[in-house]
Every structure is written in structure tokens, then in C-alpha cells.
């Protein structure tokens, strides 16, 4: 009996050590792709990452071909994509933020009610919708009636994507505020409206703003829904009823055109910088405005 114990104890210890090593190893391996991707994008993208990227519109395929045959760098940049992203995402923000705030306020104040539970469930449902299906919806609701692709359609699609995220972060943030803020405000004779706008929303600013930033960074990189709605354009466009480009759309266009393929990395680099910047700012805001 006493002979068996030391051996099995040793093997248990070995198993324990092995498990620990494997866990650390696999965790490390899980992080590796990130560095590979960033390295790839930076190394291949910095060459074309210059002022032209921001100031010129995309070159035509022919011009690019000529340049390559002459050994020149590809002319042009992605200005139309940058302005397009600003337009489409900007409009999406205008649509989804006020709506998301109101719905989040409603959900945080009507917790037990059956209607609120239904809305909450549906919000989760919307959050889980694949982006391509949202693209189909925006196609059906905006592209078809307007008779063509447009920035507006793209914004509608992106705002449907942003809405559940903003609702959730607003609701969760407000729920975490001490109930006594609302009560103290009301006890001073204030109207509910004033309590919400002058006390609750300012107090929850950190969490709410972080949620909005994260929603923006999420949709900035979306391609699929825009393929079905905004389509793209080779010129700078500020009219919401016209087809418009966006940075991810341009990357897709470049990918599919052998003459323009060199531009994909600098565009991706810009996209990654914007997204990571937004995430970083969101982290700072969350830390600074901790409830």
C-alpha cells in the first residue's frame, strides 16, 4: 500500500507541471497571430503610407498598370475611402447614438417589466445578426426604394449594427450607478427628465462614451454590409444619396484588382491604426471615468 503512494504522487505532480506548461504555451500561441498580422500590415504597408494616401483619390486601374510597367510607385491614395468612411459612419452615429441612449435609459429604468424584457431579448437578437444579413435588409429598405446604392443605405446598415451595442453599454452603465443619485435628485423636486440629463447621464458618461467608441471601432472595419449598400465610388462623395466608398470597400476593390493590389497594405495599416486608436481611447476613458 505505502509503495504505491509516492509513485502516483510523483506522476500527479508531473501532470500538474505539464498542464501548467501547456496552458502557458497555448496562451502564448494564441497571442502570436496578432503580432504576425500587425507585423505583416506594418512591414508591407509603410512603403505606401504617405501623404498621398490621404490627399488623392484612388487611381484607375489603367493608370496603375502604366505606373507599374514603368516601375513607378502607384499614383493616388484613398481619400475617397477616408471621406466615405467619415460620411457613412458619421451618419450612422447620428442615427444610432440618440436612439441607443434613449432605449438604454428606458431599459435601465423599467427593469422588471415584461415589455422591457422582450426588448432586451430582441436587442440581443439584433446584436447576433450576421453583418451580411443586415446588408440585405438595408438593401431592401434603402437601395431598392431609392433605386440605387447610397451612403445612406450604408449608414442604415451600420447603425443597425451599432444600436444594440450602444443600448447595452448605456443600460449597464446606468444600472451600475447608485440608486440614491436618482432618488436624491427627485427628492430635490426635480423632474425625471432633468434627473436623467443633468445627473444620471453625466455620471455615467465614462461607460456610455466607451460603449459608443467601441461601437464605432467595430463598424469602421465592416465591409460586407457596405458591399450591398454603399457599393463604392472612385471620387470623393459627400452626397448621402450617391454611392460612396469606404476604407474597407477600397481594400476589397484593391484586393480584386491585380494592378492596385499594392495599395491594400497601406490602407489596412490606416484602418488598423484608426481602430486601435479608438480602442485605446475607449480604455483611457473607461479608466478615467470609473464609476
Amino acid at each position: 500500500m505505502s509503495q504505491v503512494k509516492p509513485i502516483s504522487f510523483k506522476s500527479r505532480k508531473t501532470k500538474d507541471k505539464t498542464a501548467f506548461i501547456l496552458i502557458c504555451l497555448f496562451s502564448f500561441l494564441a497571442m502570436v497571430p496578432l503580432f504576425f498580422i500587425i507585423w505583416d500590415v506594418v512591414a508591407k504597408g509603410y512603403k505606401n503610407f504617405n501623404l498621398r494616401l490621404f490627399t488623392e483619390v484612388t487611381p484607375s486601374s489603367v493608370d496603375a498598370l502604366m505606373a507599374r510597367m514603368n516601375g513607378d510607385p502607384i499614383p493616388g491614395g484613398i481619400l475617397n475611402g477616408i471621406t466615405g468612411s467619415v460620411l457613412i459612419v458619421g451618419l450612422a452615429i447620428l442615427i444610432s447614438v440618440p436612439l441607443g441612449l434613449f432605449i438604454g435609459i428606458y431599459l435601465s429604468d423599467n427593469r422588471g417589466k415584461k415589455f422591457a424584457k422582450v426588448i432586451s431579448y430582441l436587442t440581443d437578437l439584433l446584436q447576433g445578426m450576421p453583418s451580411i444579413v443586415i446588408g440585405i435588409i438595408a438593401y431592401a429598405w434603402v437601395v431598392k426604394p431609392l433605386g440605387g446604392y447610397s451612403a445612406l443605405a450604408g449608414s442604415v446598415a451600420l447603425s443597425i449594427m451599432m444600436l444594440p451595442m450602444i443600448v447595452r453599454s448605456t443600460e449597464e452603465t446606468l444600472k451600475m450607478l447608485p440608486a440614491s443619485y436618482k432618488e436624491a435628485g427627485l427628492a430635490l423636486g426635480s423632474s425625471y427628465t432633468n434627473v436623467v440629463f443633468k445627473i444620471l447621464l453625466p455620471s455615467g458618461f465614462g461607460g456610455i462614451f466607451t460603449g459608443i467608441l467601441l461601437a464605432i471601432s467595430r463598424v469602421m472595419g465592416e465591409t460586407a454590409p457596405l458591399m450591398l449598400t454603399a457599393l463604392g465610388a472612385s471620387v470623393v462623395n459627400w452626397k448621402i444619396t450617391e454611392p460612396t466608398s469606404a476604407i474597407p470597400l477600397l481594400i476589397w476593390d484593391f484586393y480584386n484588382d491585380p494592378n492596385l493590389v499594392d495599395l491594400i497594405w497601406s490602407s489596412s495599416l490606416l484602418l488598423l491604426i484608426v481602430i486601435f486608436l479608438l480602442n485605446w481611447i475607449a480604455k483611457i476613458v473607461a479608466r478615467k471615468w470609473k464609476i
Partner: protein, 261 residues
């Protein structure tokens, strides 16, 4: 429990007549409470947990309006007007409330916190009016000297006791008739508690104070009159000194001698 017969005095500033508060048609948190509160007195409401004392005090400033399933019946006459029939916002300006957990609004400075009652109600004041109200309110809670140089800062760096005095100042700034206090010192240390009790004794010269407390010695120390509640009913009420030395009901005596609660 025997029905307590009281004759409502015309001098009372606040009269409760058969006030009941229920969460469901069967569950009553407060059962037919009747009493008078006199001006410039401190009335303590005591009782074990769950006796309904907080529920009662919140009925006075219509806080139950926030919750759809709570019904309040009876009459609550504040200076002759039934609070339950008035506009709740007006009621709350006449009856201010201080809560257990000090809660200065985190995004406002000390200065703005004191004036919160005005800004939230959309009342516009010019600079000198504002300064006067802030100074008066902070002086009446003995906080003026401590914060007059840091009024533009947020209130979060103040100690618990100072924060609570700030909340009292904020309530007093609206010049209410009655001050409702829901266990205002439970979350504070003994020294701060002491300071606030002294403050209340001073404030009663200008205001009428109702204080819910689970601390009997606090009630004994500062209140003129006391109400003892048990399971939603008002068991006994009257002059504090008398109640403590010669309680008229067995329950009261049991509570005061620490048999329960």
C-alpha cells in the same frame, strides 16, 4: 394593537391620518398610522428592521411614486394641504430628504451640489443670489469654513461626514418646511455622527426634523418626540423622555430594553 386615538392639534405642521402603504393588495408595509408632528421639533421614528419606518417617511415626500406597484392611502397634511393630492415635485421642495448613504452628485462641484435643487428645477438665479444661498446653506451645516476655498472641486474628496453635511446643505438650500432624514448617520463614524447630531439640534430652531433611526440612544439624545413602529403599525408615540422612562406598551418596553431588534 389598540387603535391609538389622537386629537389632531391645529398647531401641527405635519399631520398623518390613517396612512397606509402597501406593496400588494395583501401586503401592507405601513398600517393606518396617525400622528402629529409639531414645528421646530425633532421627531425620531424607531423600530426594528422591517417595521415600516423608512416606508412611512418616503410616503411623505412621495418617493413611492417611482414604483408603480406601491399604493399609499390616507391623508398626509403638510401645512394643511394633502401631500398625496399635490404635485410631487412641489411636495419634495417643501419636504426635503437626506439619505443613509451620502450622495453628492459626482459630476458637480461642491458649489454646484449645494445649488442642485435650483438647477434641477430650472430656477435661474444670478451670481450674487447663488453665492448667498451657497454661503448660507454651508454655514448652517458648519461646513463653510472647511470648504470655502475648494468650492469648485468635486465633493468626492470630502470625508463621509462632510459629504453628508453637504447633502444636508443641498436639501436646506431649497428652504423646506420639513426635513426628512432616513438613517442619516448609519454609514458614518462616531465622531461624524456626533457632529451631525449637534447640527440637527441647531437646525431644529429653523426647521422641523423627522429622523428615522435604528439607534435608540440617538433617538434618546436628540429627539423631542418619538414614534415607535412595529410590523407596520404605530405602537406608541409621544414625548421621548416619557416614552423611554415610562413606555405605555409592552412592545415598546421590550424594544427599548433590547428584547428584539
Amino acid at each position: 394593537m389598540e387603535n391609538i386615538k389622537i386629537t389632531h392639534s391645529k398647531n401641527a405642521i405635519l399631520q398623518l391620518k390613517d396612512v397606509s402603504v402597501s406593496y400588494t393588495p395583501e401586503k401592507f408595509a405601513v398600517k393606518k398610522v396617525s400622528t402629529d408632528i409639531y414645528p421646530n421639533t425633532i421627531t425620531a421614528i424607531m423600530g426594528p428592521s422591517g417595521c415600516g419606518k423608512s416606508t412611512l417617511i418616503r410616503a411623505i415626500n412621495r418617493m413611492h411614486d417611482l414604483y408603480a406597484h406601491i399604493t399609499t392611502t390616507g391623508e398626509i397634511l403638510l401645512k394643511g394641504r394633502n401631500v398625496l393630492e399635490m404635485d410631487p415635485m412641489e411636495v419634495r421642495r417643501m419636504a426635503g430628504m437626506v439619505f443613509q448613504q451620502p450622495n453628492p452628485f459626482p459630476t458637480m462641484s461642491i458649489y454646484e451640489n449645494v445649488l442642485a435643487g435650483y438647477s434641477l428645477n430650472g430656477i435661474r438665479l444670478n451670481r450674487s443670489e447663488k453665492d448667498e444661498i451657497v454661503e448660507q446653506s454651508l454655514m448652517s451645516v458648519a461646513l463653510w469654513d472647511e470648504v470655502k476655498d475648494v468650492m469648485s472641486k468635486r465633493g468626492s474628496f470630502l470625508s463621509g461626514g462632510q459629504q453628508q453635511r453637504l447633502c444636508i446643505a443641498r436639501t436646506l438650500a431649497l428652504k423646506p418646511e420639513v426635513l426628512l432624514m432616513d438613517e442619516p448617520t448609519s454609514a458614518l463614524d462616531p465622531i461624524s455622527t456626533n457632529k451631525i447630531e449637534e447640527l440637527l439640534l441647531e437646525l431644529k430652531q429653523k426647521f422641523t426634523i423627522i429622523i428615522v433611526t435604528h439607534n435608540m440612544s440617538q433617538a434618546a439624545r436628540i429627539s423631542d418626540n418619538s414614534m415607535f413602529m412595529y410590523l407596520g403599525e404605530l405602537v406608541e408615540h409621544g414625548n421621548t423622555a416619557q416614552m423611554f422612562t415610562k413606555p405605555q406598551h409592552k412592545r415598546t418596553e421590550e424594544y427599548l430594553t433590547g428584547v428584539f431588534g
